[in-house]
Symmetry: D2
Subunit: 358 residues, 4 copies
């Protein structure tokens, strides 16, 4: 269950890392989105491995194909299905995974939950599944663009190196100018050096993706349980390797006093605004028209180029060796995934909002 | 929409702060839970205002009544409905809220979203709604107790005062021994002093609730989007005033290397365990049998005893004065809410898990 | 599970026949419905037993109370909860049901499914639950009235007596003029005589409720699985004692040829219409603007005033005697239930329709 | 929206008649179903056009491909995706449909609902979409077979020719022995003659598919709104051209008296049974262990080989000529679709049932 996301714009992803194909269906895709195929392909390219010296060199071409739901370049309101065929299905040697549980991977929990697992490349638990999310997210982004809403993700922290600039001080046109996707260029250089050294160690490192959503109208988000930030949080926590989510003042807000934290209202040209934005653009779970911003913490990925103690499916002690793809820091590649999940969340609330008043 | 939570054990809450009643229905409540009415009442008492000198003195008796779904002390599998009648409905003077937007409250966003709002006491956006969640959560806790699963919430931080002890070093039998619900007793005293001084200032302060779930079997949680921690996160972020959620290594994990972070597997008496638990008891979104633990950050509540600049519904500048209930730190009272939402999440996944294998 | 109905305007009913109360919550109730309390009470009165000589004489006052979701006479967009307290809870003698399975009731299946059942008055399986649907349906009807959509239910058949007039030949202002709710007055008299004679026999009789929906805009209903008639059918089949549903040409349509059955399109004043309406106002699962009409078949209710062979919970043969309320023909009382479920279905699709185009 | 069916075993179909491909995803597919590929292909063959002289001669090879969710011949618990590529995509001449509304087709309602439609071959509203349901239903059937549950569909009526035998008098091993799929062989011959004469007229004819489900355990189905027959009904009414659904005594039951209709309980070898089965195997919405049986009425399909009056998208009068595929009676080909939807419904309730008791 629960390979689906969204309540109106509802996606379902499918596919294993080394199966026949990955893909996604969008049920509830509104009619009238103009599809820019190059844009979708570019988004997939931003996620795929092998983009730069600091990522894994495994190649995933990730060409997508649309199977349904589009006619003469526009969505028709019927389900849009997209497929990415795997070209990398050959029978590799997976004997080291077939019977052993890799530390901090999902091998053990899948085996226990289902009694069976496709161990090739991690199967369904592989981050390769996120390609399907990026494809669906690209469609959502195109819809949001038509609605005047923009989403800007970037790497704000790699290991213990972080930018000290807030999102209002950054120039997002610089995000894609460097391989670590940090618009604070000096910090970007330090991040790249760190990741490169981690790579040489055969190790991995975590980081933080920050994201800002601009142009959201007032009124998106549903009290009580589906507060805008609650579903954004779930969307982010559903991404592989994510360990934390905070929005607005976040964990820092826990230290503050109400007199500091309250965002006083102003009125400008008949529009209600706030002087500060510690609320993160969301009040009572509903967007207030200010910038929505949040942070997503990623742990270091589990695949390292070292031998590790573990157990096999029979409970016997084994050594798991450092085979497989090595990606020293997935955080730059996670930026389009964070953006995709944000786009899916916002578009869903945008459509749902129309049912609020008789 | 979206006053519902859960996929199998599905609750829907209703009610406004100063309306006729609050309540909750549980659709999908399994037959065979033995209801301990005193326990449910005690849980409501843990949440209600006016418990101690550091909380608001407004009285909410919060007596609940079960309307359906129980027969001879046991749940029957039909919807269980619980109601808490409001005794505090008299027409107070709400003119200061009727037309004005209180800073960092949901007045503005509700008005814009719905075109109408019940402004009395904050209406639906009042934290009073969480009483309904605690009532439903108490039922879930009773079910989990029958299943051998325990949930322990506690205050780990108030303002900038925090315990340095990890959850494995704490004695949870001490949590209820002090009014701030911190089992680290020395730190508890400091927290109480801080909150008391904030109270005297007419101000408010945030904090962090930590929570540990013990006894969870392997296999709860659903990849891809409904990872156990993704739904736990959504559950927590749906609580009023929450700004962040992290589990296992959390935001600290972003600084770590894979070689430090990986939890090596061991086998003990035929049971697979991990040597460390930076994963927070969850791998690939599925419980691995270790302790599940997480932190929830609360901002300071917005109602302070001071005058603040704001605007009214016509966009005119106004001063909002510090009336209403003053609760300098809601974090101790949030502990049972966090526990309730955790219980609802875990029970839901427990039941769902049974559909995984043919 | 599944005491809920609707995808946007989502109701959940609760309550047992002889428990504390029955009720319903509406999550997704749009803001801006003006509530006419007298109308809601009148709808409940149309459903309640004891209305005339041909129905059971048991009294159910069915006064409702709104607990939430309304402010100054209008819905606010937050969940609307309604409760009907049972006044009839005294400990009657239910020993004849406690251990025995009444033929064609739900006693056996509930006991097997849940391992426990509230046997008093049939508990949750009692048709008394439909009062909650009528209450919610009355709110939906008020919303539809604001939108210009009307729903007309009536009894078209009782036993083997049926009207030969089609819905276009009937004057619906006559429906409530007689106790059997048949607008064909001559046939109504025959139906009343039949039911009265069945009553004297201590027996029961089935019948058919027909329903017409006028004023529906083009475009309601969702292909593929949620065709307008599929969800209408599910709504009707969910009513106690219903055995069949047909719309448009229905089962007669199975005998026809395409050349007879096709509804040719016309254009009148810029509006596309059809010359005939064997489609029943729905094409491809989507409303086409013509009258929507359908029939709902009710079996005779199972409670008869006679001794019947059965078995008890231990599998021993017993005689179940004809105690309890005797309602010789529930079909007239089912009219407001059919209308309520139709209203809930149409309003839900009306709101959902707004999400169809970007 | 709503191209999905099921609550636990949840399918989503996609694809247009003349698009790139049709397909289906199954989210919530339990691990451990052994997939028999030949069986799935055979089920698709039973649905496809061109099987015999009485169906359309258009060829749809309908070879399917599984993209995910299977490992070493068994389902893994992850989403199973199946695709059927269209080989028939060439640019035919669709100018007669592009601008005109075919009578009793979905051209007009789709155009109005979405503002755009893929008119080629009817696009999404084409019955070709049901191939995806049959593929998913075949997987469900394989699961049910492992659970000892069998589903038998057959044609009981074509036009006004119907079998007089009840389902208990028929030998279902004969169903596939004739091209009209009627196990009453004498009646089958008459049906074939009728359909052949309709075909020669360039006309179409409706009919009824009956279905029996054997081996269902007691306890499937959910009160109140998701009664087993309510969801079965919705499943059937969602099939193209269906106008009615009845189960057990059905519309005939409306004429009966309670004393005739009640199914008296017996006990045999510790198992509770009923002497008669007018309930159709379902009481209070829950299976009682007896045979479940129901009828599904199909109207004649709208495509006939004659000229018909209609209007175009501009509201101008046009003549729509009888082009396109001619299928004089789809009812025999609907048998596997009815069975597929029944299998999907039963399996879903089977899994859901496991969550009923703590």
């Amino acid at each position: 269950m629960s390979n689906s996301f969204g309540s109106v714009f509802k996606i379902t992803t499918f596919g294993e890392s080394h199966g026949r194909a990955l893909g996604v269906t969008i049920d509830g895709c509104p009619a009238g989105i103009t599809l820019d195929m190059d844009f979708i392909q570019d988004e997939l390219a931003r996620r795929k491995p092998g983009q730069s010296k600091i990522t894994t060199q495994r190649k995933e071409p990730d060409s997508f194909e649309i199977l349904s739901g589009v006619f003469e370049g526009k969505t028709t309101g019927t389900p849009l299905a997209m497929v990415i065929f795997n070209t990398d299905q050959k029978s590799k040697d997976y004997s080291h995974i077939a019977d052993s549980y890799r530390p901090s991977h999902a091998d053990f929990t899948y085996q226990e939950k289902y009694g069976i697992r496709d161990y090739r490349g991690g199967g369904r638990s592989s981050a390769r599944e996120t390609a399907a999310r990026v494809a669906a997210g690209a469609v959502a982004k195109l819809a949001l663009r038509q609605l005047g809403i923009q989403i800007h993700g970037y790497v704000s922290q790699a290991g213990d190196i972080k930018t000290s600039k807030s999102h209002t001080e950054l120039d997002f046109s610089l995000t894609e100018s460097n391989i670590v996707r940090c618009p604070d260029l000096e910090v970007a250089d330090d991040m790249i050096s760190l990741i490169d050294s981690v790579r040489k160690d055969g190790d991995t490192i975590g980081g933080v993706v920050s994201c800002v959503i601009k142009g959201t109208p007032v009124g998106l988000g549903e009290p009580v349980f589906d507060k805008l930030h609650a579903r954004l949080g779930a969307a982010m926590l559903g991404i592989n390797a994510v360990k934390g989510f905070e929005y607005g003042s976040g964990f820092e807000g826990a230290k503050m006093r109400g007199s500091q934290h309250n965002d006083l209202f102003d009125s400008k040209d008949g529009k209600v605004t706030t002087r500060t934005n510690l609320s993160g653009g969301i009040q009572g779970g509903i967007s207030n028209g200010e910038d929505i911003y949040f942070n997503v913490a990623f742990k270091p990925v589990a695949t390292i180029m070292r031998d590790q103690d573990s157990v096999d499916v029979h409970g016997e002690a084994v050594t798991v060796s450092g085979k497989g793809r090595h990606d020293p820091c997935v955080v730059p590649r996670a930026v389009p995934i964070v953006e995709a999940m944000a786009a899916l969340t916002i578009l869903d609330f945008y459509l749902l909002q129309r049912t609020t008043k008789l």
